[in-house]
């Protein structure tokens, strides 16, 4: 594929608001997870963005009021993102900027609230409930387009936990096909009862902070996050210092099971191989892999197998889900940004909460952060439905 320039990032997660806070937490080994009790005597750990409870949308965006859009708005307010998009609008025109976002549950938290306020007689939803602006999967796309004053092609991808990694693929194709000249890629996923109780029903949530690759790992911790990246053609023009390029995207399907990954990691391996092929690189070219690593017994084992088969046992890798929790549909953008931070800061994050690495897992798993040059990094995101995506990032030389 033609390399694309990732010219700007913005992020909010339980690690904090902005790139600086995110990097500082990763470097200090400070997890954003903390205990939370849900009704029904369900105690777990979550990665919550506290400031969201009181964050308010601008008046003109009031119809979009819901936790998920507030989270997206909060991310857009970080890292000079709105200003960078304003410059992008000047450069290309608002009609030539694509918007490719991802979410798994959009603003369903708002619908959960509305269902608790149904008319006891008729069962009707309250009259202030706005479906298109909050519940619909596209709501975050509609909201961000309005907030950033963008009028180009817009889509929301919703492929479970691979969503915001796959969004880079949609954006790359949209740019290559000439439907736009640049794109905003990212998305948001918010803590909600649907995912908390849904993952609980599958027995996939840990009661402790999640421990990726640990011998005693017993499930995920759910977090909320939003992140954005500006994607432009890299060809021509001088690249800014410390620029990060998107060099390869690989997508695959497990064709195995709706909610369990293929135990051989075959789909994961295929996604990684395709990303390397698209980048024209060999496994040895990769300095660090930010893995999916959700801390489920089966998922981590399958990914480890794929990693060892492809990279051998020397390539450093880690999951940062012990820091952020599994941010579901936002995991792709969050971890792409973390991989970019690794490149820009010559720092490979470790794995929060992982005490005792499972001896059955054989890849070179980093429990502690390491300062070392990272020229090329891979980021893995896998999801329900057997949906897999790997991205290859590179420091522009």
């Amino acid at each position: 594929m033609q390399p694309l320039l990732l010219s700007h990032f913005a992020i909010v997660s339980s690690l904090g608001a902005g790139l600086e806070a995110t990097l500082a937490a990763l470097q200090a080994g400070r997890s954003g997870l903390r205990p939370h009790s849900y009704p029904g005597e369900f105690d777990t750990w979550i990665g919550k963005v506290d400031a969201l409870d009181t964050f308010r949308l601008d008046e003109g965006l009031a119809p979009f009021e819901c936790r998920n859009n507030r989270l997206a708005a909060m991310a857009m307010a970080q890292d000079g993102f709105a200003e960078a998009v304003a410059a992008l609008r000047e450069k290309y025109g608002p009609h030539r900027i694509g918007l490719v976002l991802g979410t798994s549950t959009a603003g369903i938290e708002q619908t959960e609230r509305a269902y608790r306020r149904r008319d006891p007689e008729t069962g009707r939803l309250p009259s202030d409930f706005r479906y298109a602006e909050t519940h619909n999967t596209f709501s975050v796309g509609k909201f961000v387009a309005r907030a950033l004053d963008l009028t180009g092609p817009a889509i929301v991808v919703s492929a479970a936990c691979a969503t915001t990694a796959k969004a880079f693929g949609n954006a790359a194709r949209m740019i290559a096909a000439g439907f736009c000249d640049a794109a905003i890629v990212g998305g948001a996923d918010t803590l909600c009862s649907t995912t908390i109780y849904g993952f609980r029903s599958l027995g996939l949530i840990s009661r402790e902070p999640c421990r990726p690759f640990d011998r005693g790992r017993d499930g995920i911790s759910i977090g909320e996050a939003s992140g954005f990246a500006i994607v432009e053609k890299a060809a021509g023009g001088r690249l800014p210092p410390n620029a990060v390029l998107l060099r390869g995207i690989g997508e695959s399907s497990d064709a195995y099971h709706m909610s369990t990954p293929h135990p051989d990691g075959a789909g994961a391996r295929l996604a990684m191989e395709r990303a390397l092929a698209a980048a024209g690189m060999a496994p040895d070219d990769i300095d660090y892999v930010n893995i999916h690593g959700t801390a489920t017994p089966v998922g981590d084992a399958a990914e480890d197998r794929a990693l060892v088969e492809l990279f051998g046992r020397e390539t450093p890798c880690s999951s940062t889900k012990g820091y952020t929790g599994h941010t579901l549909g936002a995991a792709g953008i969050v971890e792409t940004i973390i991989a970019a931070l690794a490149i820009q800061n010559s720092f490979m994050p470790g794995s929060a909460n992982t005490q005792d690495v499972d001896p059955a897992l054989r890849s070179r798993y980093l429990t502690a952060g390491q300062h070392a040059p990272v020229r090329r990094a891979m980021s893995n995101s896998f999801g329900f439905g057997g949906s897999n995506c790997s991205l290859v990032l590179e420091r522009a030389s």
Partner: protein, 272 residues
């Protein structure tokens, strides 16, 4: 503008039971006769997976299976684009209803069926396809967005793409805030170059709303078009059914539209 080729169609809608029957109606060779949507049993899936299928999945798999059969193309080796304005309404309603109860119990099967990409997941299991698949949502513009993505993917990645668009009515109380008139789904197999099975070319362009979307002349078909995001494809299907050169304007975002110029294939090839 990008040019792609169509080599197979599948369709399910009220009174539009499969492409041959629907094409006869859309081409004006047969009168439109409303009838409930019949969903065939999918025999590709193992029995235990088939039992778990919800309506969106049945619907998407039905049109996908028909489109690939008509194209005589192996679905197992083909990338797919799924697009829908909503997930499975019954599943989402049941989960939301359970979450509003005092004692919260969510069914694990319901939860995995609630993801927007459930049809894509079941499709890949059924067809053993490990090729890339994406699942999109652009509210009322979901069909046009899916067509843009499928055409872009065919052109940029030089591969065949199965586009599957589907939507069905929500149950109460969601149907009051999101009325969808009837069940509709369409599958289109799109290729970057003509194949033996191709019968039309599509020139797909993003256009800035100077003309309104093309409407259906038959009022009941027009009601289906307006009532279901996937059925916004009907004017395109009608042009393909009539096997004529036509310019179809499809609804997209705001005032923007997607313009599709259809050309029957012998003509398209002669022009090359």
């Amino acid at each position: 503008m990008i040019r792609v080729y169509v080599e197979g169609i599948g369709v399910r809608g009220e009174g539009l039971d499969g492409w041959p029957a629907a094409a006869a109606v859309l081409a004006g060779r047969r009168d439109y006769l409303p009838a409930p949507v019949a969903l065939p049993v999918n025999t590709l899936l193992p029995a235990n997976e088939r039992r778990r299928m919800v309506t969106t999945v049945k619907l998407a798999l039905a049109v996908g299976t028909e489109a690939f059969a008509n194209a005589k193309r192996d679905p197992g080796g083909t990338a797919t684009v799924f697009t829908s304005s909503g997930g499975d309404g019954d599943t989402i309603h049941n989960i939301l209803d359970a979450l509003a109860c005092e004692q919260i119990e969510v069914s694990p099967m319901r939860f995995h069926n609630s993801v927007h990409n459930a049809p894509s997941g079941y499709w890949s299991i059924a067809t053993k396809a490990v090729e890339p698949t994406t699942s999109l949502c652009v509210h009322d513009a979901s069909f046009s967005a899916g067509l843009l993505e499928a055409a872009a993917q065919a052109t940029v990645d030089h591969r065949a793409v199965g586009l599957i668009a589907y939507d069905l009515p929500y149950p109460a109380p969601l149907n009051a805030v999101r009325p969808i008139g009837s069940t509709f789904a369409v599958g289109l197999i799109i290729t970057p170059a003509p194949s033996e099975a191709s019968f039309a070319s599509l020139a797909v362009a993003l256009t800035q709303g100077n003309e309104p979307p093309t409407a259906m002349a038959e009022p009941r078909l027009e009601a289906i078009r307006l009532g279901n995001p996937a059925a916004r494809s009907l004017p395109l299907l009608a042009a393909l059914a009539r096997d004529i050169e036509a310019k179809v304007i499809l609804e997209y975002l705001g005032n923007d539209t997607v313009t599709v110029s259809t050309t029957p294939l012998p003509l398209a090839l002669a022009a090359q």
